[in-house]
Amino acid sequence: MNSTIENQHGARPYPIVIAGHVDHGKSTLVGRLLYETASLPDGKLEELKRTSEKRGADMEWAFALDALQMERDQGITLDTTRVWFASDARTYVIIDAPGHKEFLRNMITGAAAADGAVLVVDAVEGLSEQTRSHAYLLALLGVRQVVVAVNKIDKVDGGEYRFASVRDDVVDYLGGIGIEPHVVLPLSAKHGHNLVADQTSALPWWSGPSLLEALDALPVRPIQLEGDLRLPVQDLYRRPDKRLIVGRIERGRVRVGDTLSVWPGGRSAKVVSLETGSDDTRIAAAAGQSIALTLDDELFVERGHVLAAGDPPVEGNAIRARLFWLDRTPLRAGDTLTLRLATASHQVVVERLDTVIDVQTLSEHDADAVPNNGIADVVLRSRSKLVFDLAEGGIATGRGALVRDDRIVGGFTVAQAADVADGRVLIPVDHSVGAGERAAANGHQGGVLWLTGLSGSGKSTLAMALQRRLFDRGQQVYVLDGDNIRGGLNKDLGFSPDDRSENIRRIAEAARLFADAGFIVVTAFISPYREDRHNARAIIGDGFQEVFVKAGLDACESRDPKGLYVRARSGEIPEFTGITAPYEEPQDPDLTVDTEALSLDAALNVLIGQIDRVYATGGDRERASG
């Protein structure tokens, strides 16, 4: 560490990514820069010499970053890394990115955290494939403060002329994607020419800044303190006397007493308190802070909702997005993905694949698939309501990740609300009978009452009794439970965690169809995993109501209507929920029915009350249009 940093609590280190084509000298540049600024720890120089010699090289500065054996043996960077160093002006976190196109996802991982970038270009090879694709991604990731370093200038004769020609090519390409570099400068990373001031003797024709001088001049990306509040809800913590809403402020400020709106929906509530868990009281917080607050109204709030003030975020079922795809299996129209937008998760379908962008030529063309590392414009549609902002300014509600099989496989920025943009609602097939008509005919809307609870908690009893009562009232109702699902639709599934998840997924899809047909569906499955229920909610959309049928394990075990607990205890039934497999209680169910405390009749009344409120025609719940 450098002793010249005066302000101990001062500014955050400036994050800068080193990008560019494979082997153009990115890691070498960082290693040598550390050396030139006396930032290498004791013993590192000797270690670098030793490990370079061992591999028959004279001196590989890159080994200061390329720490993995495989990286050193192959002479390429596999994964991004970070190091800290200081100039006289400020501290930096340097993010070294790999140039090999196989590791583009690692480059993105590094670059997404940066405020500024150094685009390294080999003077001999000039503008190359990954120079272009890295530059394009920098723009897409919102990293627009760029310095271009034309490296290995020691290797070319007539450096000045070669430099000018490489510079023109790079500036030309960057112009095409809307980036104007702060400076394009020549250097030799390996030999330490023009990295820091006073090293230009080897480049007598250069009168511009050194790399470090250029870095010191890059502006810091401001925190978005001004502007309308965006606070995506990260979680809810229940306390005996209150309910804490936690999350990080992405933009703007919040004060005790402020009136906020909760999206989707836009209902409003007042901030009662900001909680710290200690004695210090807080009355205001601003962008960048992770906070906990309470509201004056017991509104339904869950993870993924957005608290806002001022101009509201956009609410809709479809977005037009520009995405980068990072999976070996190409993305096709019709594919389903999980879309993560700030803290929300939605199941989406790729409704349209508009264009695929060739970042080499900057041309756009039609294609039926987006390949690994491809960039495309698409329309993504969700059954549940998305809450978003346009991506400008890099706001968290304007960009996110795409997930398939629990792994991040791409990212996107929101370009437009697709429904609005097209001036019409994008429904592929226009159903001749609309949801509104069905609701009017039935006297209620369709929806899914999703009962979850331990075996023996009373789900099936409640579901069947409820079905009788609703049917007798002339309502459209149907129960999905083990008896009509396990024997048919899901007879190929067992009880392993994966099969249980698939079981729940199919039930959710089937329930969704019934709900579309106008039915009130009551499902009676243990559905022990939170994630699965969450997915069910995502599949079913707005009509989903999670009902926790609550009874303690002891009570369920003593009821044991089918003798299952006895068999589970004896080991005869493996993976039995509550005994040898977990049951994850709902954290914030729409309704809890305690069957230990309530009689069957009382429990039914609670359920029917909820149904009348939530599925009433013209009630406050508007069904998603998709």
Partner: protein, 264 residues
């Protein structure tokens, strides 16, 4: 918002994310300075009590001061402590150099704790500036069976979107302090008044900069008796933090091997 506030907010976001996404997380508590900072942050994140257990991988060879500190702060901080002993040294790969083998015992202790308690996520207080393979870590790092780190194929991670799910037989490591430096840690300890084991402060011209087990961790020459002294010392020194950790220096790839096979 200054730099420490920004780091704090980021770590709290990560901790809350871990708690939401994982079914059964636990936090590793080595009783060292970094893990005390992590506990401190978790108490802020969850507005009071930490809603998951903390695991101390006890080698039986920790310093007496470490045990004393642990016993005092478990009740004071309201921690749900799991203090399982690590398996005997004989169970650890004998081809490892001696100190690495000693360290690998901790990885075995961790594997054992995972199996015994069924955790699907482990929150650990490693930092990128400590060591160059740690510098390549993700905030959420999915592990294979047996805790193996596949650094050749790490998933992308950006814009605070994390890969929080592991395959059912594996787990995820969560690193809320990854972006902190040693200097940040001390500045924060000072600002917040976080207690630490007294071994970090100089006595008779020696202090510990990094705390591991007795025998494979060595003190440095130092007269830094206060946090101010320590920060001044850090600003002046160019010696690496883990110089007193024998296991890092036994071979070029010693630490990489340890980490690949599940070490923190």
């Amino acid at each position: 918002m200054n730099h420490l506030d920004a780091l704090e907010a980021e770590s709290i976001f990560i901790l809350r994310e871990a708690y939401h996404q994982l079914n059964k997380p636990a936090m590793l508590w080595s009783v060292g300075k970094d893990s005390n900072v992590m506990i401190w942050l978790a108490r802020k994140a969850f507005v009071g009590a930490i809603p998951f257990p903390v695991v101390h991988l006890d080698t039986g060879k920790e310093f007496a001061e470490t045990y004393a500190f642990r016993d005092r702060y478990v009740p004071e901080w309201g921690l749900d402590l799991i203090g399982d002993a690590c398996p005997p040294i004989e169970t650890v790969d004998p081809s490892l150099p001696p100190a690495s083998r000693f360290a690998a015992r901790k990885s075995r202790g961790l594997t054992q704790a995972l199996e015994r308690h069924g955790f699907d996520g482990i929150i650990a207080g490693i930092r990128r500036d400590e060591q160059s393979t740690r510098a390549k870590e993700r905030v959420f790092s999915p592990r294979g069976a047996d805790g193996v780190w596949d650094f050749r194929d790490q998933p992308p991670e950006f814009w605070h979107q994390f890969n929080a799910r592991a395959p059912r037989d594996a787990h995820v490591r969560v690193h809320p302090l990854l972006q902190w430096t040693e200097r940040d840690i001390w500045l924060y300890i000072q600002r917040e008044g976080i207690p630490v084991v007294p071994l970090y402060f100089a006595r008779d011209g020696k202090r510990f900069r990094s705390l591991g087990e007795e025998g494979i961790t060595h003190p440095i020459d130092s007269n830094a008796a206060t946090i101010d002294d320590i920060i001044a010392e850090l600003d002046a020194t160019t010696a690496p933090e883990r110089q007193g950790r024998a296991m890092d220096h036994e071979a070029e790839d010693a630490f990489e091997r340890l980490r690949e096979s599940g070490y923190m």
